[in-house]
């Protein structure tokens, strides 16, 4: 009974992480444009930073999944992601101000600013996908199929995050309001995961311990 609950939670949270990554990436263009314009190189900087961060995140997430994969660590990823996203919301302007003064070329300015604002949160969000696969594989045997399904769900989340943000969210909300909503959902997701980990632990203790 708990296994299917865990699977459902992992899929939901993977969806959330996919949604958040792309929503933040799209808002990145908006956040940087007052300082670096909205030219193609600004998007080049943002996409580069997100790709590099995700690559690093996959590596770390995969490595961490080797040691006793559990929902508590998984939930902690979400809490940490929320935590490192907060300075971007609160001090983004100050950071960009600093970079704007230090670097004259808007190409490298936007690259450095993207890295300052988005590298950490995206690395942490990137750790979620491989760790999710590991959590699901603990519960099932078809690892390839599980990985496929997981990427399906999280990429679908990314697609929806892109669409919702660019079509509707920016039409009704301020950039920071949307980012705060992301922070709140990450905290909520992480908390649920940790709570379930406790329950699951008690369950395991009762029947196996």
């Amino acid at each position: 009974m708990f296994d299917s609950t865990i699977n459902l939670l992992v899929f939901c949270l993977a969806f959330l992480s996919g949604f958040t990554i792309m929503s933040v990436e799209l808002l990145g263009g908006r956040i940087l444009s007052p300082y670096f314009g909205s030219s193609i190189y600004v998007w080049g900087s943002i996409i580069t930073v997100f790709m590099v961060s995700l690559a690093i995140g996959y590596l770390i997430g995969g490595r961490l999944s080797l040691v006793r994969p559990n929902l508590r660590v998984y939930g902690a990823f979400f809490l940490v992601a929320a935590l490192v996203l907060i300075p971007t919301v609160l001090f983004g302007d100050q950071m960009m101000d600093f970079v704007f003064l230090a670097i004259m070329d808007p190409r490298y300015g936007s690259l450095v600013a993207s890295a300052l604002l988005f590298l950490l949160p995206t690395v942490v969000l990137g750790m979620i996908a491989p760790y999710s696969v590991r959590l699901l594989v603990v519960n099932t045997h078809h690892s390839g199929q599980v990985a496929g399904l997981l990427y399906f769900v999280s990429t679908l989340g990314s697609a929806l995050g892109t669409l919702a943000t660019s079509f509707y969210l920016v039409l009704y909300f301020e950039v920071n309001q949307i980012l705060w909503a992301m922070v709140a959902s990450l905290i909520l997701g992480g908390t649920i995961s940790i709570l379930l980990a406790k329950k699951h632990h008690a369950y395991n203790d009762e029947y196996t311990g």
């Binding site: 007052p34 670096f36 030219s39 079509f167």
Partner: protein, 313 residues
């Protein structure tokens, strides 16, 4: 049971094919009729930002930012009388001189074919003009096909206007006249329409300086844009002509001059602008400070600027 279904599908496919052929004929006819027979393309290039086409016909040479069939001209030049300003919206821009009749430092954002800076340079040969254009290809085309020239007093900067203005604010040059002419395409740069941007721009104006913005008079954006300008500049002059969908906003860094003063200036300036086909005194009745927009519209900010979404009808 399956056979009639199949037939139906075939039937509808046939219909679709006729429909497609009809479409093609329609598009062809449209192309022939709007092609204005004499138009010939003399230059075509794909830049980083847009497709640029220069075409000639009916005694005019036009710069077209082609995105789709039947795109509008961005700038046109009368080949025999290049000093004439062909487009009403470009002529409307010069109403800004009623507030600042003798500018010494000017900033023009958006080059196009270079009509506006070229006329300004002719009117005020002693003044210095900075032009900011995001697309280097447009700068090259303006020089090659529209007689645009950089001189000691005319400097063109290739780059984003917001970045230029933010940098300029730190170096503190001041402009008597700033012309914002970057909104004529199908896409509006969203970061050039916000309260923050206008505040940064206003900070570059000398105390009685003037900002002239060429924008649109239609769609939901009108209310949002008006409220945004009002928040930064207070009362401003709204200038619309019945013949165009354009709107020119004329805002002052300080109090607006009284009507009589503007009227006197229009008489003095009209003679100098006549050779460009600009009748400044005819603009006077259309300059108004009346608020014809919804005051409860949300101002555009760096946090909230869905400009291109608001432009949808």
């Amino acid at each position: 049971m399956n056979i009639p279904d199949k037939r139906q599908t075939l039937g509808s496919m046939k219909h679709r094919r006729i429909g497609l052929a009809g479409w093609l004929v329609g598009i062809l006819m449209l192309a022939v009729t709007t092609g204005a027979a004499a138009d010939r393309i003399i230059h075509r290039e794909k830049s980083l930002y847009r497709n640029i086409v220069v075409k000639e016909g009916n005694g005019q040479r036009c710069l077209v930012f082609a995105v789709k069939l039947g795109d509008k001209n961005q700038t046109c030049m009368d080949i025999d009388q290049p000093e004439k300003v062909v487009f009403p919206y470009a002529r409307m821009t010069f109403a800004g001189l009623l507030l600042t009749p003798a500018p010494k430092q000017m900033l023009v954002i958006g080059l196009g074919g270079g009509t506006i800076p070229t006329v300004l340079a002719g009117l005020y040969p002693e003044a210095h003009i900075d032009v900011v254009e995001i697309d280097p290809a447009v700068i090259a085309v303006a020089k090659a096909f529209f007689d645009f020239r950089e001189t000691d007093n005319m400097t063109v900067h290739a780059g984003d206007a917001r970045v230029f203005i933010k940098r300029a604010a730190r170096k503190a040059p001041r402009y008597d006249l700033i012309i914002l002419d970057a909104f004529t395409g199908d896409y509006i740069p969203e970061h050039l329409m916000t309260v923050e941007f206008l505040n940064e721009t206003r900070a570059l104006l000398t105390p009685p300086g003037t900002l002239v913005a060429n924008t649109f008079s239609t769609s939901a954006l009108y209310d949002h844009e008006s409220v945004t300008y009002a928040q930064v500049f207070g009362e401003f002059i709204n200038f619309k002509l019945p013949i165009t969908g354009n709107r020119v906003i004329i805002a002052a860094n300080g109090a607006l001059p009284d009507r009589q003063l503007m009227f006197d200036r229009s008489k003095q300036l009209t003679a100098r602008l006549e050779s460009h086909g600009i009748q400044l005194n005819s603009f006077m009745p259309h300059l108004t400070t009346a608020r014809d927009w919804r005051d409860d519209a949300r101002p555009l900010t760096d946090q909230f600027s869905p400009v291109n979404l608001l432009r949808e009808p």
